[in-house]
């Protein structure tokens, strides 16, 4: 939603050019960072063992032997 608002602002204030573009990029980065943070929080707080490569980084997620985790 924040990104959409900023994008609309960028169209309306096109003369601000690169500044607005930077603002959008930063917002997008923030959104992604927030999503990643939420992702980690979600899996650690509600499911115990983090999942996917970004979470646990254990051997089975890096091409090593599969561990005993029963969730994907």
């Amino acid at each position: 939603m924040i990104t959409r608002i900023l994008a609309a602002g960028a169209i309306a204030l096109g003369s601000l050019g690169t500044f607005t573009g930077a603002a959008i990029a930063e917002s997008g980065h923030h959104t992604a960072a927030h999503a990643a943070k939420h992702h980690r929080h979600h899996h650690r707080s509600h499911h115990g063992i983090p999942q996917h490569t970004r979470g646990d980084k254990d051997a089975d997620n890096n091409g090593g032997p599969s561990d005993g985790d029963g969730r994907t």
Binding site: N62, G63, G64
Partner: protein
């Protein structure tokens, strides 16, 4: 007599199948043959082996000299024997039951789970249920697979229901190293408690 041959073949096949089952030649077609896991003899850690425990202290297993604890998921414990290039040659892991796996569905679940995690060419070699461990009863499956980084592993994976918790233990090694490491892997699984 012309009719004797056909009558005897089914009987002979049955006798052969029974003999193979008794001998423990388990395969994907014999998912509940404890004889395949006759090596499983619950026993304490051998002298000189280290004991790795889950952080919860709910389960433990012994691992051989020269093996080291490695980074693993929170709440779990893993130990490995690494090669000079850092490749995992031998792998042991204990993880609290965390999904839909049960003692009853273990043989199917484990193989399907490995596929879901990106392993390829997953082949179930044998499975058994009603196995006795130091801390309870379990089901085991032996399978082999190719990881996303093209490393081949063979594994023994067991789920064990104890008095207070259900835990999975995995023992794995590359097929090429299996003959050398299997005795240690099986001994580690046998020490699981």
């Amino acid at each position: 007599m012309a009719t004797a041959g056909p009558d005897r073949r089914p009987a002979a096949a049955s006798v052969l199948a029974a003999a193979l089952a008794i001998a423990g030649c388990g395969s994907a077609g014999a998912p509940h043959s404890p004889g395949t896991y006759s090596w499983l003899r619950p026993a304490a850690a051998p002298a000189g082996w280290q004991v790795g425990r889950l952080p919860s202290r709910a389960a433990a297993f012994a691992y051989p000299r020269g093996w080291r604890p490695i980074r693993t998921d929170p709440g779990t414990f893993s130990a490995a024997l690494k090669g000079r290039d850092g490749q995992i040659l031998g792998y042991l892991n204990a993880t609290p039951r965390s999904g839909a796996e049960t003692l009853a569905n273990w043989a199917r679940f484990r193989v399907a789970h490995n596929r879901e995690e990106g392993d390829r060419s997953v082949v179930r070699e044998s499975a058994a249920s009603g196995l006795r461990f130091r801390s309870g009863t379990g089901s085991c499956v032996t399978d082999r697979y190719l990881t996303s980084s093209d490393a081949r592993y063979r594994e023994i994976a067991c789920i064990v229901r104890g008095a207070h918790a259900t835990t999975v233990i995995v023992a794995a090694a590359p097929p090429a190293d299996w003959p050398r490491l299997a005795p240690q892997l099986r001994r580690a699984v046998s020490s699981f408690s």
